[in-house]
């Protein structure tokens, strides 16, 4: 059902006339009238009120008993009193009761100074203590999980954490155990609470009962500052507030933005800030001298980079991983304008090409993330949001739970949302495009009564969330999605549309900033350059001499990791911009440190098109400099004056280069961002970027006459290798082989590896097998095996999953060890694999170990 405007009602609270939407809870309506009613258990983000704490009791004329204002919807003409003697008595009583068992250990409590219980006790409590008896005691604090400590003595049993676990993240692990004043929060059998969103409970807790181990005893409210920004660790781009002490981030809090994250934050976003201060962090530029990385000054490093790039000239390529829009814009400009190359890619494998991205950017078929809340039908295709963009997972769960939205899931790998789905469709790895094409056809013919097509036929507002990885099954994906959108009439229905979850945090922004081989800023077609795979091949063959890695770790993140190792080894000159050392930076001739997302100033674009600003909150450690500055300096050294001397100028340049960003300003973006589709400039989708003229004078082989509008014919003429031709067909399976699909696990992330608090979540490689295949191979969950494709193999532990169809298996991409990307070909598409006994790895063999074994045998 589309959003409807609620009726307004007028009521009187404490003699003040207040207008509010019908159905608003009294406590919220009062706030609109600047009247504060204290609450503990009430938190609208958690769903229906429970009325447990009794703090919000008020007097309503005509009702003899006091009522909980958190659960009483406003009615027209209601007369409410929040300050009468009767109410005051009730408030004082409740505070007194809450303190009966509260230890009042405020001086050693982390919540002290930012504690609702302290505030409400001061504001509404009695100023005396009549309780002289023994308080209840628990062991304190005890670990609820490796991340969260629980102090049960401080707990006021407000239910918030338990409701979060049961009704928001739906992991259902937190429970109230025992009863009466012996009630306590815990898990079944005292098992650790392991769930990807558990950090939220520390923020929900209105007392110091739930605290993060990462923040305990680190700071007091008076020695911290809060800096609002955006988390760029995944495409969810949740809004965050960094708690900064001594110019360092010590905590990350959610910053409510209903249009982005709904006020939640995953544990990666909350705890991976530790990576900013890890030993692996690069603190200054380095240059490889005689093969040894040596710290140098910025000037020397920049000169070394510029010299190498100038030498390679148009034989330079750029790979972009995590970067802001401005950084991406400046990078592509450096490459296209100063070096005359157009070999740039920001995708992790075959992803959307410029043409497809442009077609899908049509505002008419684009949904916003909050449309999920009101949708009749949500279809998730080819992504498991809990892994790819966790806040989408919570959003979709919320729609199903509270709005009774129908959910359908289509994926190659069984995902977390499927339990709540009405329809689940399974296709084999690499089969996404065929699936979407077929679905579009069914919907178009309009005869389907069952399946997902049937649901589309009978539903109104429909939101389709799709993962960019489906493009690995062929670039026909975009065409199929558009056909599906047309057949389903998404453009005609308000609140309906597509949302694509890119593979990298700012995948959409980088695409739109021009980091694609066949599209410049604003997705304007340009002479097609090499994509990531062609760049790797070019490096190996020597056609490309120099490569710039910007926030990219191709050895870990891109398909064919070993191929990338060879390519970087073969490269004449590697400039690596990176936050931390990684496997790819080992090949760097020039290594330049990057800012973290708490230090950066720039914009990013949310998967639904919302331009958001990343604001600097913490000090850049060591010699780290803003990348936009380094890039403009490099440009200048290579003879191009960008005219950009500040971040506002960088944004202005970006905003004029992308026609549909049409001069967006920082004040428009403000705290909650602005969706470009909602601005007048949105009509400029498809208008060529004015920047294209800049590249016309470029020194290299960049072909100016290929600019606006002509790129397409060039692709068809085969002037370069278009992305879609690289996509392989599904491999044919020979006897005993399985079709391997891969997925990126949420925790397979360098920021997780470098955060001590999260390290326990770093996944070891696991092979997901179907039951029949496991039986055939004589394997059980936990067995160690090797997975082989050609000459490459990885070791993994078996996990048998009932929901997996026979003949397919899955591995995790991007693990620190046994990375599945060595098995995937350059396309990242599915491959045929054989399962065998685990490979003995030399680094694990202890002296004499295997020999002894042999003797015994």
């Amino acid at each position: 059902m589309p959003r409807t405007e609620p009726n307004r009602v007028t009521l009187t609270i404490d003699g003040r006339e207040i207008e509010a939407d019908e159905g608003t809870m009294l406590v919220d309506a009062a706030r609109e009238g600047d009247i504060e009613i204290p609450v503990f258990c009430y938190e609208p983000k958690l769903g229906e009120p429970v009325g447990a704490c009794r703090m919000c009791l008020v007097e309503i004329e005509g009702i003899p008993k006091l009522q909980t204002s958190c659960s009483t919807p406003v009615r027209d003409g209601m007369v409410v009193h929040t300050r009468t003697g009767q109410v005051k008595e009730a408030q004082e009583a409740v505070v007194e009761f809450l303190l009966v068992n509260h230890p009042l250990d405020c001086p050693v409590c982390d919540k002290g100074g930012e504690c609702p219980l302290q505030d409400i006790s001061m504001g509404w409590g009695p100023d005396r203590n009549r309780m002289v008896d023994q308080k209840r005691h628990f062991e304190k604090p005890v670990p609820l999980s490796p991340l969260v400590a629980i102090d049960r003595e401080r707990c006021i049993l407000c239910y918030r954490c338990v409701r979060f676990s049961q009704e928001v993240s739906e992991d259902e692990q937190l429970q109230l155990l025992e009863r009466g004043d012996g009630t306590y929060v815990g898990t079944f059998d005292d098992r650790p609470y392991i769930a990807p969103f558990q950090g939220n409970i520390t923020e929900l807790c209105p007392v110091g009962a739930l605290t993060s181990y990462t923040y305990r005893f680190r700071a007091r409210p008076w020695d911290i500052e809060q800096g609002g920004s955006v988390c760029t660790l995944c495409p969810s781009q949740c809004n965050v507030s960094f708690t900064v002490r001594d110019e360092q981030v010590v905590r990350v809090l959610a910053r409510d933005n209903e249009e982005v994250d709904d006020g939640w934050l995953c544990d990666k976003g909350r705890y991976a800030f530790q990576a900013m201060y890890s030993e692996d962090r690069l603190l200054g530029p380095e240059v490889a001298l005689d093969g040894h990385p040596t710290p140098v000054g910025w000037q020397e490093a920049a000169e070394a980079a510029a010299t190498g790039l100038a030498r390679a000239g148009s034989k330079t390529a750029v790979l972009v991983g995590d970067a802001s829009n401005e950084e991406g814009y400046l990078l592509q400009r450096l490459l296209r304008q100063a070096l005359g190359s157009t070999d740039i890619d920001s995708r992790r494998g075959p992803g959307l090409n410029g043409r497809s991205a442009l077609a899908l950017a049509d505002p008419a078929i684009s949904a916003r993330i909050s449309d999920i809340d009101t949708a009749d039908l949500v279809i998730v295709i080819g992504t498991d949001p809990i892994q790819s963009a966790p806040s989408f997972d919570l959003r979709i769960r919320k729609a199903v739970r509270r709005n009774r939205t129908t959910l359908a899931v289509a994926a190659d790998r069984p995902g977390a949302l499927e339990a709540g789905a009405v329809e689940v469709a399974r296709y084999e790895p690499g089969g996404a495009v065929a699936f979407v094409e077929k679905l579009a056809g069914q919907v178009k013919r309009g005869r389907a009564k069952a399946g997902i097509a049937g649901l589309i036929a009978e539903s109104g507002q429909t939101v389709i969330v799709w993962g960019e990885r489906i493009v690995r099954g062929g670039d026909g994906a975009a065409g199929a999605l558009i056909a599906l959108a047309e057949a389903a009439g998404l453009a005609e229905q308000e609140g309906s549309g597509l949302i694509g979850i890119p593979e990298t945090a700012n995948g959409r922004g980088l695409r739109e900033a021009g980091c694609l081989p066949d599209a410049g800023p604003g997705l304007s077609p340009t002479g097609p350059g090499r994509d990531a795979r062609a760049i790797r091949e070019g490096l190996e063959s020597g056609e490309i001499e120099s490569v710039v890695l910007f926030g990219a770790d191709p050895v870990r993140d891109l398909p064919d990791g070993d191929g990338w190792r060879r390519a970087l080894e073969a490269a004449d000159h590697v400039v690596a911009f990176s936050i931390a050392r990684n496997e790819s930076t080992e090949f760097a001739d020039v290594l330049l440190p990057l800012e973290s997302h708490a230090e950066k100033d720039g914009t990013v674009t949310h998967p639904d098109g919302r331009i958001q600003r990343v604001r600097p909150s913490a000090r850049r450690p060591g010699e780290v400099r803003p990348a936009w500055m380094v890039l403009t300096e490099l440009s200048a050294m290579l003879g191009v004056d960008t005219g950009i001397d500040s971040t506002p100028e960088a944004l202005a340049a970006l905003a004029s280069a992308i026609p549909f960003y049409g001069g967006v300003t920082d004040s428009e973006i403000a705290g909650h961002g602005v969706r470009w589709q909602d601005r007048p400039a949105a009509t400029s989708v498809g208008t060529p970027s004015p920047d294209l003229t800049l590249y016309a004078d470029s020194p290299g082989p960049f072909n100016p006459h290929l600019a606006p509008g002509e790129g397409e014919s060039a692709v068809e003429n085969g002037a370069a290798v278009p992305a879609e031709e690289l996509t392989p067909d599904s491999p044919t399976l020979t006897n005993g082989q399985l079709l391997l699909g891969t997925y990126r696990d949420l925790w397979a992330d360098p920021a997780v590896d470098s955060s001590p608090a999260l390290r326990f979540l770093t996944p070891a490689q696991r092979l997901e097998l179907s039951g029949p295949d496991a039986t055939r191979l004589g394997l059980r969950t936990g067995d160690e095996v090797s997975v082989r494709s050609g000459d490459e193999s990885v070791n993994a532990r078996v996990a048998v999953r009932a929901a997996l169809p026979e003949g397919t298996c899955f591995l995790i991409e991007g693990t620190p060890a046994d990375n599945a990307n060595v098995l995937t070909s350059g396309s990242g598409g599915p491959v045929a694999v054989e399962i065998g006994p685990p490979e003995v790895r030399l680094d694990l063999v202890t002296a004499g170990g295997p020999v002894e074994g042999d003797e015994e045998a």
Binding site: G51, A90, V94, F97, V100, M131, D133, L176, D181
Partner: protein, 472 residues
């Protein structure tokens, strides 16, 4: 005082016949005739009207009009439920036990008729876990009713379906609270829900649900069989009908007595139950279960009806009278009552969770002699702070009787404190937690300090019994 009153048996009629618990026995007295007639001849609305006209009030405690409750259920096609509350756990109440044990089919017939009137296709009997024998009897009776075709699909060819399930609780008093009962029935932790929405609108599994007590539902077949006017010929204007009253405590003949509402209390306590044994005198009594404020002998003349009990500042509740005579210590009775509710509080809402716990601790100190009379004021004030502020009525159920006992028997509380204090060895210090300061050791320390020339604080000197110059 006239103590002689007569029982009026409707629900407990033929209760002495052991065969009544079987379907043959029940039918031999005309059982299930009304159910058959209702299905054949009566429109559900007609039954609802009859129930409303009869003025039957809920027998579980709240005393709300049963007919009105049924009429609150929305009409029309949707899944509706009936839940029979057989979680009789209130101290002093044992009438439902007898009704289920002796005459299970009377309840089943009542449930069937009420379900038909409410349009409910599923009914549940939520019986407390400890009522093992009664649950077995009900299980048997339900099976008999299914076999006889009085339950199940298309009952007696009427097209009306009714499934009846006997569900055993796990032994929590709170599950007798209607919304906690629903949660427990759904397989959740049995905690009360926020009202509104009321169960009649959104109850079991989110569907409209009628919840009634065993005794209430046992009345249904009689009202439908004999008409509202017949029912109104018993009892008082505002409390029509009969009531099975459980009388226990210090009386000669404890047990269940079915009487017309409005009979004098003295007739029940002194007459039917025989009053306290020997020469003992009634000191106080709970007129409606342990959650009702206690009354005193002065109130024995009152008629036993919903309205008279409310007027006396108490309530008829589930109709369970517990009598205390002059051998009973009221402060200990208050503590016993408070302990029960403290033990049974679910812990969901603050005033009940913390208030019951705090009250118990204070009353424990009272009976140990470690309280001051001033603390009796704190006890009553804490009770006032509980009443009306909770999510459900469990907190009030402790607060009202405890408060009434402290107010009505304050002198006895003060006396108990004084006597208990005298009986225990007086100590020179104490932190109120039962951990007395060890005086000799403390005095020794002081002595040592004095010898070493350190000044001894005046307060500590007094504590050690050395009355000296405060300026020392």
């Amino acid at each position: 005082m006239k103590y002689e009153i007569e029982e009026t048996r409707i629900l407990l009629r033929h209760a002495e016949d052991p065969d009544l618990a079987t379907i043959e026995g029940y039918r031999s007295y005309g059982g299930y005739d009304t159910w058959q007639r209702a299905l054949r001849e009566m429109d559900p609305d007609e039954i609802v009207n009859e129930l409303e006209e009869s003025g039957l009030r809920g027998r579980g405690g709240a005393g709300f009009s049963m007919g009105k409750k049924v009429s609150f259920l929305p009409r029309g096609e949707q899944s509706k439920y009936l839940c029979c509350n057989a979680d009789e756990s209130e101290p002093g109440a044992f009438k439902d036990r007898e009704l289920m044990q002796r005459n299970p089919h009377q309840l089943i017939e009542g449930i069937a008729i009420a379900s038909y009137a409410a349009g409910a296709g599923h009914a549940f009997i939520f019986i407390r876990g400890e009522y093992d024998v009664q649950a077995d009897i009900l299980d048997r009776a339900v099976a008999e009713a299914y076999d006889a075709g009085f339950l199940g699909k298309d009952i007696l060819g009427s097209g009306f379906d009714l499934e009846l399930v006997v569900h055993r609780g796990a032994g929590a008093y709170i599950c007798g609270e209607e919304t906690a009962l629903l949660d427990a029935l759904e397989g959740k932790r049995g905690n009360p829900r926020l009202k509104p929405p009321f169960p009649a609108v959104q109850g079991l599994y989110g569907g409209p649900t009628l919840i009634n007590n065993v005794e209430t539902l046992s009345n249904v077949s009689h009202i439908v069989a004999n008409g509202a006017e017949w029912f109104r010929s018993f009892g008082t204007e505002q409390s029509p009908g009969t009531k099975v009253v459980s009388i226990s405590g210090r009386v000669r003949r404890p047990g269940n007595y079915e009487v017309q509402l409005g009979v004098p209390l003295a007739g029940l306590i002194m007459g039917l139950a025989g009053g306290p044994p020997g020469d003992h005198q009634v000191k106080a009594f709970y007129p409606g279960g342990s959650s009702s404020p206690v009354l005193t002998p002065a109130e024995l003349d009152l008629p036993y009806s919903f309205e008279a009990m409310a007027e006396a500042g108490s309530m008829l509740g589930s109709g369970s009278i517990i009598v205390a005579d002059d051998t009973v210590s009221i402060p200990h009775m208050a503590l016993r009552t408070a302990r029960f509710y403290h033990h049974e509080s679910c812990g969901k809402c603050t005033p009940c969770r913390e208030g019951t716990n705090w009250t118990v601790k204070m009353l424990e100190r009272v009976v140990r002699g470690e309280a001051t009379p001033m603390e009796l004021d704190i006890i009553t004030s804490v009770q006032d702070n509980i009443v009306g502020h909770c999510l459900c009525v469990l907190g009030d159920s402790m607060a009202m009787p405890v408060s009434a006992m402290v107010r009505k028997f304050r002198e006895e509380f003060e006396q108990v404190i004084a006597e208990a204090a005298l009986a225990s060895v007086p100590v020179a210090g104490g932190n109120g937690n039962g951990a007395p300061v060890e005086v000799p050791a403390f005095a020794e320390m002081l002595e040592r300090d004095r010898l070493q020339g350190r000044p001894v604080p005046a307060a500590e000197q007094r504590l050690a019994g050395e009355v000296g110059d405060a300026t020392d």
